[in-house]
């Protein structure tokens, strides 16, 4: 009797236990699914915050493309759906690299239910003319000159002795000579010219065929003085390689004027042994400027002469460098004035990383090194022991018709 009762009791207990286990499982399932539901809702907000943060990166790129000195922080509301805070840093980065950090908040910073942070490294390269030396009316280089990049003119290019035309950097395809003038001796090689293999000299002047050889009547004269590189010689060229330079200069003067600037309304003469702080600004001289000898430029910036009259619009005498005798990160631009000498006169022992751009004439005398571009709406005259190496500028200059580039190097969530 007792054994039988016992057996029935066990069945009941087992049933209850089983029900309890099933109940626990069911409750667990319910909680799991509710947790998953909450997780999905959070994920939905998280996605929205990520897109808001990404919008912050785009916003910063837009600001940097307008003004490379932009650093933020900026708080911005995106269509009432969220907000971001974005800032820019360049610490520890190479030139032209910017680290953008953006945090997106949904629905707002003050009552954020979800936040996401993105950091992105962006390389923004301002526009740079494609040539190392460009002049509307003509280029004259004397002796012991090295040009790393292209020479390009709408006028005659006269090359003196021991002229080396090389690519701007190993592997680059530049290092050629082009003129759009149709005159004879459009490229006049008067001394030894050294070039690299695979380069070319093109002129729209008369061809060898019509003139019966390398004569003074041809577009490229004295090819026999080319000592290396065996460049392709093309006379009577009609390709886009020898298209006209068009309006000059390359500088977008309106854009330049809208940059952060200091205006000097008198002719300025900086005496010897001075330090000039460029302070990341455009220094606009309305009557011309002269820098005497032993001048050190610190910081980076632009010297811009817009008017005046005299011998030179912008004169650098001698021993003009950056800190420690290095390159001065400065652009030299003359866009106006009446000058009996040259718009820009760079005398001797000068190192510049930037754009040198004159309206009618730019002269570089001796022991001058320019990393950047030298150009003129008239002529460029280079004397001796001058090196011009095509390079991006040390300080931003708005350029007409040159394509600047923005490349996103990395994008990651913090």
């Amino acid at each position: 009797m007792l054994d039988i009762r016992g057996e029935k009791g066990i069945a009941l207990v087992l049933a209850v236990v089983l029900l309890c286990v099933l109940s626990i499982l069911a409750i667990a399932m319910v909680f799991l699914s509710r947790y998953e539901t909450r997780f999905l809702v959070k994920e939905k907000l998280s996605d929205a915050a990520l897109y808001i943060a990404d919008g912050g990166v785009e916003y910063a790129i837009n600001e940097l493309q307008k003004d490379l000195s932009y650093r933020g922080p900026t708080t911005y509301t995106v269509g009432g759906r969220g907000q971001f805070i974005v800032f820019v840093s360049t610490q520890g980065q190479p030139s032209d690299y910017y680290v953008i950090t953006s945090t997106g908040y949904v629905p707002s910073i003050s009552s954020a239910r979800e936040t996401r942070t993105i950091t992105s490294v962006v390389n923004i390269i301002p526009g740079t003319p494609s040539y190392a030396v460009g002049a509307k009316d003509g280029i004259t280089v004397a002796s012991n000159i090295t040009v790393k990049g292209d020479l390009r003119s709408d006028g005659q290019i006269v090359l003196g002795s021991n002229v080396f035309i090389e690519p701007s950097e190993p592997g680059a395809s530049d290092g050629s000579i082009y003129t759009s003038t149709g005159i004879a001796k459009g490229v006049y090689i008067t001394g030894n010219l050294y070039m690299q293999p695979g380069r070319e000299i093109k002129s729209r002047g008369p061809t060898n065929a019509s003139q019966g050889g390398d004569t003074p009547g041809t577009g490229i004269y004295q090819e026999s003085r080319i000592k290396s590189g065996d460049p392709l010689i093309v006379e009577g060229d009609t390709s886009s390689d020898t298209a006209s330079l068009g309006s000059f200069s390359s500088v977008d003067l309106g854009g330049l004027d809208s940059m952060d600037k200091i205006v000097y309304d008198n002719y300025m003469n900086y005496e010897a042994n001075e330090t000039f702080d460029l302070a990341g600004k455009v220094h606009k001289f309305t009557q011309g400027v002269r820098f005497s000898s032993n001048i050190t430029f610190v910081g980076e910036g632009t010297i811009w002469v817009t008017g005046g009259s005299g011998t030179y619009g912008l004169e650098l005498c001698s021993n003009v460098y950056g800190p420690g005798g290095g390159y001065a990160d400065v652009n030299l631009i003359v866009s106006g004035g009446t000058w009996t000498g040259a718009d820009i006169m760079i005398n001797s022992n000068v190192k510049i990383n930037g754009l040198v751009s004159g309206k009618t004439e730019v002269d570089a005398n001796s022991n001058v090194t320019i990393k950047g571009v030298i150009e003129s709406g008239g002529t460029v005259n280079v004397n001796s022991n001058v090196t011009i190496e095509w390079s991006e500028f040390g300080f931003e200059v708005p350029i007409v018709g040159a394509s600047p580039t923005t490349v996103v190097k990395s994008w990651q969530e913090l």
Binding site: M1, I4, R5, K8, A11, L12, A15, V16, L19, L22, S23, A26, M29, V30, S33, R34, E36, T37, L40, V41, E43, K44, D47, A48, Y51, I52, D54, G55, G56, E58, Y59, I61, N62, Q65, V78, G79, R81, G82, I124, S403, P404, T405, T406, V408
Partner: protein, 132 residues
């Protein structure tokens, strides 16, 4: 002896059966309600996920467009409404492009759907720059 044993079996079996059925019925009823609610929540979450993906897909598509093409008449479906049926549910997606500056546009994407007679929606927004 055999009769008594049978009676004992019958008596306990019925009581136990009734008790067990009652307990099971109570629990099943309670959990049916829970399961139904949970099922609705899971389905709702599934729809939200589908809606998020529906909106996100469009955002990625727009980000891959050229800047000039975003919001231009020849870009398909920009600032227009389109519908798509996913897992048996109809979702309506609206894309709005706003030109904030010459080189900056805002993209707002909203997805709506109805659930249990109630209208639901999700929204995402971002900015797109005209890169050099």
């Amino acid at each position: 002896m055999a009769m008594a044993t049978r009676n004992l079996y019958k008596g306990f079996t019925y009581i136990e059966l009734v008790l067990a059925l009652t307990i099971i019925a109570c629990i099943v009823l309670a959990f049916t309600h829970l399961f139904l609610n949970t099922s609705i929540s899971v389905t709702s979450a599934q729809y939200e996920t589908l809606a998020c993906n529906f909106a996100g897909d469009k955002m990625e598509e727009i980000k891959n467009e050229s800047f000039d093409g975003i919001g231009s008449p020849w870009y398909p479906n920009a600032w227009e409404t389109e519908t798509e049926t996913l897992s048996g549910k109809t979702f309506t997606r609206t894309v709005t492009i706003s030109q904030l500056e010459t080189s900056l546009k805002r993209v707002d994407i909203g997805v709506t759907w109805s659930e249990g007679g109630e209208s639901k929606n999700i929204d995402i927004s971002s900015l797109i720059v005209d890169r050099w």
